[in-house]
Symmetry: C2
Subunit: 219 residues, 2 copies
């Protein structure tokens, strides 16, 4: 059975990707990264729960050097996570995170002969990170296959979907969205205010759907 | 002063690269990776010694997931390191190692605003690894700059040099080659038989120069 390595954060987008890979007939291998981000434990729990539901194999990799490099509010606790939308790249941008994740995925895919690598990037309705564009993924595809013996295809089924499209498609496929975590803050419930919560809530709202996860009461 | 991030293994090629970067007028920041390879302690010692000589800043990053991924004889102690030359990619090939190293270097370079990233790959006289070609580096350059806010240039001054050229250039620049380690085995002295020793010795021989490091007596 052909294998797909799915980079899975435990969030909504990458979870949908893994369901799509399974629907395409792949044996799903979930790949999760810990990088000492604020919500590491929550994301990991969601990752394992989703993989259990999907019957997927799991690979968990520690990349704590990302926190060592620093310079972003996901790993630096003394930087505040932005709560207002703006056109600038926000301080939640982790330098070249998707580049690092794709490179490690390439090594894992080569080792386990996974012919597809799924990554849930979206350029249509994201936070404006440079490592989420179609042009970047095209360059990644070339980089990955020129540098290895085994060849795989990078798949980004969400690249041009809006958050509303993502919610609709996820509900369509019966994705267990109630087990996903998107919030950048490590609260007991999602904050509802950070970029990631706002984008998620906007997606549900535009899709006329109800998000079943709990949010902090907004003042 | 403009900064160059130099990926340095503690071996001959990357050490020469760092000297070349310094000669080009850069402030050198040495970047070293530990990945539970057999010769981790020796390489690390060489890295720090060379950086001390160069007056370079140091960044040391643990990437032990490379050993977790496995599939190569540098990290898998139960695989034997090849001692005969052949045209096949040898089992010392670590899946996508340079891809991973360049991606992490890209993040470090973005964080510390290093306008150049030096990597000592050589396609002319290497072991035939796919992640050492000029075409691969060109793809890496595109991948790295498309995925980041800050832009840097990947420099590979050794890409077309033979090992003999490298030895000559290193002696020319007064590189402390006696403090470098190339052997794949973790012996008290270099084995003289692995691909890496053979290439190094061939380089010295063709350059009519003497390698001052100690080798095991060859039977």
């Amino acid at each position: 059975m052909k294998k797909a390595l799915c980079i899975m954060s435990g969030g909504m987008d990458s979870t949908l990707c893994a369901y799509m890979a399974k629907k395409e007939g792949y044996e799903v291998v979930g790949l999760h990264f810990n990088y000492s981000q604020r919500t590491q434990d929550k994301e990991k729990e969601c990752f394992y729960k989703i993989c259990e539901i999907l019957g997927a194999k799991t690979v968990e990799i520690d990349t704590n050097f990302i926190a060592q490099i620093g310079g972003n509010s996901l790993t630096d606790r003394d930087l505040e996570i932005r709560k207002t939308m703006s056109d600038e790249v926000p301080n939640t941008y982790v330098p070249f995170r998707n580049g690092i994740f794709l490179s490690i995925a390439a090594a894992v895919a080569e080792r386990y002969e996974c012919e597809a690598i799924y990554i849930g990037v979206t350029q249509a309705d994201g936070s404006g990170y440079p490592d989420c564009t179609a042009e970047f993924i095209k360059a990644a595809q070339k980089f990955i296959n020129l540098g290895r013996v085994y060849q795989s295809t990078v798949k980004t089924p969400l690249i041009n979907l809006s958050k509303a499209d993502i919610v609709k498609e996820a509900l369509n496929l019966g994705v267990a969205l109630e087990y996903t975590w998107s919030c950048y803050e490590n609260g007991v419930v999602a904050c509802g205010k950070c970029d990631s919560c706002r984008l998620r809530l906007k997606g549900f709202s535009k899709a006329n759907a109800v998000d079943k996860i709990a949010y902090a009461k907004l003042s």
